[in-house]
Amino acid sequence: MTPENRRIIIETLCTLLTDATDSTIRIRAAQSLGRLGAEVSIPLLCQIALQDSDTAVRLAVLDALVIIAQSPNLMPEQPKNQPVFNINQVGNINTGDVTIQGDQIGIQHNYAPETSTEATQQLAQLLTKLRTKYPTKADAEIFDILINGFATMPQNNPQNWQRWQDIFSVIFAGGIEATKILVPVAGIPIEVLKRLYEIYDRNRKQLPGV
């Protein structure tokens, strides 16, 4: 099977798993995702495993997760092939008159985080720094500063962006839907995470060879 056909199948099955009103169809979709060893569908499967209204669907999804975890890696999947998690376009963000300076969003370590916990901790540390720097600003304003800082960082400070990109690659490895499972990620609302994901995704695609 070509990677493109595989992607189409997985995308279709994920859509069925989320949208089909007939629980039998959702069960079949989960089973097929398991048989395909579709690791890329794990964030969605995890979500369904916790939230579906039908117990039988949840049981099928748990089985699918086990099968995927036990399946050999015949078809390595790249995060860029995320099939179902379309990020909505966001409008212009009101960032006010404050910008994040490079040293404020610098991080303590130069190594790439290996776990989501480690990555989110680094994001949380940055938030703490911003709140310390701007003690009179409300959280909504802090988040605007955060978003604006990251939006301009790839151009203003590419070296720093490289490090943050490593962090975001861990946090968003399963797409934005995956972070819903992890919410609260560093105490950041999902809408803010979506905006950060958009920045990350847009700039990631501009990298050579990606």
């Binding site: 995890c46 949840r58 748990l62 089985d63 997760l65 086990v66 036990q70 946090i171 399963g174 995956a178």
Partner: protein
């Protein structure tokens, strides 16, 4: 195998979250899944699950612990052996066997006297599988158990033990007045597969009880299967 560590952690987190689900089937499935793909990091959650109100959940948690655990969890498993449900105790026996530590032998020997035949049977199997010679006297007694499955398990377990520890007592058992003992000893000797037992088994072909003679024939037949024909 999940390549992305974030996905890996996500699956484990989801399964652990499902251990708290209000629906017993979900909790049971989550415990089972953790046994299949879990990691030692989730052992504490599984130990807590040993106290779940539903037996099937406790059962699956015990089996999962056997697959993931080590000697450090033995106190929790042994403590859980007080569970009132036989199927849970049986699963704990399986878990103890999977861990296989030497220190579990007394617990398994005690379990040979469990009121439930399934637990006695499983414990006998475990002791034979682990070749715990300290259990030979207790297993010999079990050859006369009231339950046929237990007797069968004891015989097979004795057949798995080192020859020098069981051959002599099994041959002596062939002379017991209880026909069930003679029969199960014959089964064990067949399992043991020692040619030195052939005369005694041939003599048993004269036993007044038909089922004893049948078991002797079967035991002799098993030995016949192991003759080395490679020189022919």
């Amino acid at each position: 195998m999940i390549q992305n560590p974030v996905h890996q952690q996500m699956v484990l987190d989801t399964l652990c979250a499902n251990l708290q689900d209000p629906i017993p089937e979900i909790r049971a499935k989550a415990a089972q899944a953790l046994g299949q793909i879990g990691q030692p990091t989730i052992i504490p959650q599984l130990i807590t699950t040993l106290h779940d109100p539903e037996p099937i959940v406790r059962q699956n948690a015990a089996i999962a612990l056997g697959k993931l655990g080590n000697e450090t969890i033995l106190p929790d498993l042994i403590s859980a052996f007080q569970d009132p449900i036989p199927s849970v105790r049986e699963s704990i026996t399986t878990a103890l066997c999977d861990i296989g530590s030497e220190s579990i032998t007394p617990t398994l020997i005690t379990a040979l006297q469990d009121p439930s035949p399934s637990v006695r049977s499983r414990s006998a199997q475990a002791l034979g599988h682990l070749q715990r010679t300290a259990a030979v006297p207790a297993l010999l007694k079990l050859l006369a158990d009231s339950d046929a499955t237990v007797r069968q398990s004891a015989a097979i377990s004795l057949g798995n033990m080192p020859v020098e520890t069981v051959l002599s007592p099994l041959l002596e058992t062939l002379h017991q007045s209880d026909p069930i003992l003679r029969q199960t000893a014959a089964i064990a000797l067949g399992q043991l597969n020692q040619e030195t037992a052939i005369p005694a088994l041939v003599q048993l072909l004269q036993d007044p009880e038909t089922h004893v003679r049948e078991s002797a024939i079967e035991a002799l037949g098993k030995m016949g299967n192991t003759v080395d024909w490679s020189v022919a």
